[in-house]
Symmetry: C2
Subunit: 414 residues, 2 copies
Amino acid sequence: MKFGGTSVADAERLKRAAKRIVEKREAGHRVVAVLSARGKETDRLIADAFEVSPSPDPREMDMLLSTGERVSCALCAMAINDLGHRAISLTGSQAGIVTDTSHTKARILDVRADRITSALDDDNIVLVAGFQGVSTAKDVTTLGRGGSDTTAVALAAAVGADVCEIYTDVAGVFSADPRIVPDARKLNVVSFDEMLEMSASGAGVLQLRSVEYARNHGVRIHCRSSFDDQPGTIVVSEEDTVENPLITAVTHSTGEARVTLLGLPDHPGIAGRVTTTLAEANVNIDMIIQNEPVTADAKADMSFTIPREDLDTAKDALAALAAEHGIEIRTDESMGKVSIVGAGMKSHPGVAAKVFTTLGEHEINIEMISTSPIRISCVVPGDKVPDAVRALHSAFELSGPDTIRPEQPFGEFA
Amino acid sequence: MKFGGTSVADAERLKRAAKRIVEKREAGHRVVAVLSARGKETDRLIADAFEVSPSPDPREMDMLLSTGERVSCALCAMAINDLGHRAISLTGSQAGIVTDTSHTKARILDVRADRITSALDDDNIVLVAGFQGVSTAKDVTTLGRGGSDTTAVALAAAVGADVCEIYTDVAGVFSADPRIVPDARKLNVVSFDEMLEMSASGAGVLQLRSVEYARNHGVRIHCRSSFDDQPGTIVVSEEDTVENPLITAVTHSTGEARVTLLGLPDHPGIAGRVTTTLAEANVNIDMIIQNEPVTADAKADMSFTIPREDLDTAKDALAALAAEHGIEIRTDESMGKVSIVGAGMKSHPGVAAKVFTTLGEHEINIEMISTSPIRISCVVPGDKVPDAVRALHSAFELSGPDTIRPEQPFGEFA
């Protein structure tokens, strides 16, 4: 069981999470629960750091931020003990989560779950501080924002859990953001591949790395609300999904920026230097387009999209290259992206055409396009994103009761 | 160097502590600094715990409270890195502080300082989270309130430090509380034994256990202000003090409660049962008086003092015994205690008489008395404590410039 920051934000919610954990134990399950830092605690600690230092040391940032989840776990253990059950809290290090030494964005190398399993054998409920581990250099590390999902999935894999339940403040994974599409449908089941594409293209409910980890280790995720007992969304491997709908969901993001480089000299390797420069500055390029020059001595143009918060970093990184070659840099901070995701798309041509037609009918300009076998993404003007989401959701008939897919035979979740 | 909670309470003070640590490093010293939790952080965490649970589990309380010092250390390390020096923060566990398993009041069993010494060898400033360790069962433990002083002294002993500097919000150890006696004198040197008696009888500046640890391991303590560069008070073994004044200081406490048991049956062991009962309830008796019965069938009375916060616990613990033997329990919550401490007292008779005469002249009733070779303590009504402190401070001529003792040859502190 994994509880996010809003689910443990105050004493009342924390006690509710404790009760929920105890109910699961009393139903006969052995329980490991991963907790995030409470409410705005991580933001508060980050603010404290920047009050002291303009560029906090990453190792020390990890030492600082890792305290938030420990507080949540200790408090929750107290609440569970009061309910007549035995609970112990463990830090990421005590839980055996071994990472590399990349502070603030460490990757899990190994999970040595002996202490967890022996505590479970002693009839304890085990609470583990999410988002953190201990590096091979024995320093405290953190896994980056949203890392508690990854902690939960990694522990589920290590102890061979039946299911990894992610409790959040939404009821599950939806066919679109319900704030934009009020009749969006809660999905009962999605495949890992679909969920990966959805997380990567803007669905905030599950962290991308945790879904990757779950797919690689075959961990069944159940994403559900911490405020009621309704089943949420099960994420499983494709062979476990009963049927593949054409389109599963429409996702979007509004945090895109476009950078256009005008007048690139036409010699080999220049595009490579641009992308290498950005990679070295830790800027992830999403989509990229290059216009070939028409004549031999002409110059080329290149456009790409990046997360808006990386725009200043990207401009700084490219400044020297641009000056050297007389390249003009233009930027547009107000771009958005709308994507449709569906495993059934693979076997149905014509989906892309329907997307383009639909957006065209709504007079939404498509600036850039990228696709995967189960996803089509279009960069559109930021202010057109809500219209685009509603148009595609309607065109692919994604609304309706959440019983379009047959119920899955998942025991307690059925 | 050890910095208390007020010395790291906000960003400005924390940066000042960082600067102070760096100055020490730049003067050519290798530095290990122990930090407390910031300002009211520990109180805040305790309040969070009691909001969740009426009786928080001690193991989880330690997991919770230990985060406060980690936050201080991480932030201070960031500030030091910004000043161009390398600093790393260590948890109590990482610093090798091994304790027993008595959660919330653990005792240090061993200090395995290898990681500290190798970090010092790598030219790091080492910051250690005070007040905490790791138990032999690999759980996080805390050393009880004021435990950061003990951490500092224990580390000073383990790494063979020249001195353990305790930075606080006062200028050192005074001949009396300056809030009560404005012309109290700052003491340049006190012996371990004197400091032990002073800490035990109300001087709040150094925690009793840390002084014990320093005496047992021969660690020289320098207690000084974190707000200026003036030398403070050196605590050393008696042979290192140049002369022993008759009286060194007057200490006091106002948090005493008196319990009187009326009508104790005169059979052997009843006093023993009273004290055993209180010990089992973790109530420390300070002074104790028993009136012998005059005739063979008469009953005895017994009075003792305890910390006021333990009064309810004591009454609950004694209730059954009192009912069984028809003992009446009377309590007085408003008692205080005034003590004079001085290593020279041993060789000078007549000190006690002067104390009693002085208090008598000021019409202050002495309710109970206890003594050690270098201390005389009197329980007096709580509202008379300030008068009693001033009267004794004046009678023993403790005021005056702080040069009454010759300056000590302590290198940088001279």
